[in-house]
Symmetry: C2
Subunit: 326 residues, 2 copies
Amino acid sequence: MKPSTVKNLRRAADRGEPVSEETAFDILLARPDEIPELMNAATAVRRRHFGERLQLCSILNARSGACSEDCAFCAQSAHHETHAEVFGLLDGNEIAAAYRKAAELPVSRFGVVTSGRALSDEDIEAIAATVRNTSDPRVAWCASMGCLDRSRLQLLKEAGVSRFHHNLETAESYFPEICSTHGYAQRLDTVRAVREVGLEVCCGGILGLGESLEQRVEFAALLAREEVDCIPLNFLVPIPGTRLEARPPMKPLDMIRSIAMFRMMNPKAEVKVCAGRVRMGDLQAVIFYAGATGMMVGPLLTVAGRDVSSDLRMLEDLEFPASALN
Amino acid sequence: MKPSTVKNLRRAADRGEPVSEETAFDILLARPDEIPELMNAATAVRRRHFGERLQLCSILNARSGACSEDCAFCAQSAHHETHAEVFGLLDGNEIAAAYRKAAELPVSRFGVVTSGRALSDEDIEAIAATVRNTSDPRVAWCASMGCLDRSRLQLLKEAGVSRFHHNLETAESYFPEICSTHGYAQRLDTVRAVREVGLEVCCGGILGLGESLEQRVEFAALLAREEVDCIPLNFLVPIPGTRLEARPPMKPLDMIRSIAMFRMMNPKAEVKVCAGRVRMGDLQAVIFYAGATGMMVGPLLTVAGRDVSSDLRMLEDLEFPASALN
């Protein structure tokens, strides 16, 4: 990294302020032995805005496959022939049971995820009913149900959902490479609608789709401008049958560099590491030194997560106090 | 850590100088979120004195068990009833074969280790003959054969051994708790004899024997005064049948804190992580950010090491260039 980058990092760490896009880009080029410098800055920023707090979340694939959209990475797209299961919305009892099972873990959030461009009103009402009737003060409800409008988001909010997840997936300039069946503007509308109805905004994407480093920075900068509350970072797991099946996976240290960059560009946002984490091998624990404030635990949508006991052992080894798992 | 400690760490990192014992003690008390500060300093010192170089070594248990000494941790002591194998010195062909097998790995050193207070002259001559007849420019011979005197050390050196390993195991003030059948002075004599005959000195020990943090610092300071070339750090793996079978293992972050402390007290010494590394779980990769310059790979003496492919994958993920494995 340039000496000016190191200086900017340290100043940002001292003040808890975002770094410039130029500094952000240089972070992605950090030499292997400069990773501790990144970790030192990212941890200082994380400590300033989150202390020792840690957010674990768990999700439920509540409706799977048969999606009309052609997102290049997605196993659930009807445009791809993959092994992803195809089933309609689970019934309320199954969703409630999954919520209660997740609540046995030290998670603070449980997300109901449904495939498809947007869930039908009937299905939205069904989920809202389940949320109304099932709650544990430790575990907040999140929803990820595609491009919903304000009235439907409002309905979910009144039922008890506190955060809505809707990824922008990648930089606007790269999005056309990823999806042709809908535009970036539509996703952005949904993200802004979530904000407007007063739901917390969980918005991130997938790195390693083939975007350039500049586009990775562009993406982080956009999320900063949108002031999202939580950035879920996934790392592409190439799935046979999708358009990106042959993409080489990101190197573990590039994942770490990226986490640190998103953290330094978005000092106040939660940064949550999700799918693809297992590909970091022995570097998984380093995500928290790189500024992550949380991770997804338990089963993921269509790729393998890690067994929860190994994850909890890792958190214990990192000496996160039990109280950190708010 | 005290603000003065952070300042001292940064100054030591800038100048590549050792830290004081007071700062060293405070390193062992670093909060979990101060680990990146340690890593930043330790990596700066490591980079200054070792660049990206990395030393992997492999050992052979060439004579096992039936040791007359009562070292509290040791499965090979005749004073303990353990599952450790008991066999005399392997013959020269077996030792040479193990050396050639190790040479297939990216190791730069191969150590012949024999149990017992000191090897007989006949056995020493047998090993010297094997060393004379078996060499690969990439893999240096090391020997660990107990308390040998100068003439026997000289013989090994002339045969082609370049480094002699003899642990002091722990702080002088704690040694009586560990061993009653010989004294610290005798070990220290051997270490100094190794230095005097011009062999490289590989001298470290085992942490987590029950020593205090002060004694851990005392030990690091002694190694600094002795200017040892390489500090092998083991972490106690309690073995059933030994006096320490019931000792609770060290916490992974305490291992990391200790590695960083030994690094910061011994800026110019190799720090090599050996037995007990697997107990660090997901934090194994962090040893290199904590200042380690190498690790032992492959089979250990009486406790399980990790499979070599996982270790090599970890080094790749850390982006150590192949050239780093000198």
